[in-house]
Subunit: 200 residues, 2 copies
Amino acid sequence: MPTVAPQRSRKAQIDRTATAMFRARGFAATSMRELATELGLEAGSLYSHIKSKEEILHRVCFGLAEDFFAGFAAATAQGSAPIATQLRQAIEAHVRVLTRDSAASAVFLHEWRHLSEPARTEFLALRDRYEVAFRALIQRGMAQGELHAPDAVFAALTLLASLNWLPAWYRPDGKLTPDEIAHRLAEQLLSGLRRTEEPV
Amino acid sequence: MPTVAPQRSRKAQIDRTATAMFRARGFAATSMRELATELGLEAGSLYSHIKSKEEILHRVCFGLAEDFFAGFAAATAQGSAPIATQLRQAIEAHVRVLTRDSAASAVFLHEWRHLSEPARTEFLALRDRYEVAFRALIQRGMAQGELHAPDAVFAALTLLASLNWLPAWYRPDGKLTPDEIAHRLAEQLLSGLRRTEEPV
DNA sequence: TATACTTCCTAACGCTCGTTAGCAAAAAAA
DNA sequence: TTTTTTTGCTAACGAGCGTTAGGAAGTATA
């Protein structure tokens, strides 16, 4: 049962299909033979295009990491803007990456553990850097009195947690557009972070 | 390399060790031979105590589901209490289950997909019921003016998302006790939900 | 035309998987 | 003591795994 195959490079098709299957069944439970069948191929044929199964996972995980960093950098480009604004833009950028390819996002969030060393450690370092960036933004907001939270570490963790649950329930054909989702999420999360009843 | 084995029934030991490995490597990537080695056994010996690999996963997933429902029921037992109080107690109960056994919780949250039918569908129905219960509580709070949120569905999703990220970073030997964590989480989440500046 | 590249095939490699059968020793119960 | 239960072993089963080698078409380039 091959799915419809648009005129994309074979390698990109493989990545795309594999990502969907990794998301649905998990990396370890997805066999190269199943992946090949889904593409209308034999298993061996895959290796004319890729080097290994893990190579696909590697590309997905590190590719998305790049996207997240790029989004955050753009959102916080003008450091003179109010922290709440930068944070809102960072949230929206994060949601945009998550919704643009929710399958890849789910793989990024859950399947990285199947990377072998040293890729696994590298990946975790990247993820940590990203988390720290969010935390630092919140801390700066707290220092300037724009944000309030009992604990910046907590705030950053719960914030990212709320966002990262999105791929679990987001459907591209749902009622809300990604931008609307991003806006609502930012609104709800910030209304818990922003100092109450003060004009920003 | 057998771990220290307290005087617990062999079956419970197997469940416990398997849960830790399922959490660390994922269900599909954990082999019965590795599990046996971790317990100081040969692979075949496991089957004197269990029927199958999936049976372990089934017990973990459905056992924890029971715990979550019991906690929620207890938290909302006195329906006359303010909704905010009930919600806070439900959050604390949820966190208590998550922290009591964070390995089992992580398996519950991420490895259920490896249940085969019909268990998988049953599990998802349970999970959905739980989510609906939270949502209903929030909706009642909104109807009574105790809570405010742009969207009850969103609120329930982000709330549970924030909580369910806990097993990813919680360490039993950390600085904060489970109760302190529960309290802080509830505080931060409710301060985003509670109508601002009104005494409850 | 000849040459190279892309794409896919068949067949097989060594290995690991979950699980079972049959047996044996130790521990508990009678 | 005898009997039963618990616990564990060895050896093997059929199946599936990721991957490779070597070849053969089709397509683009020269």
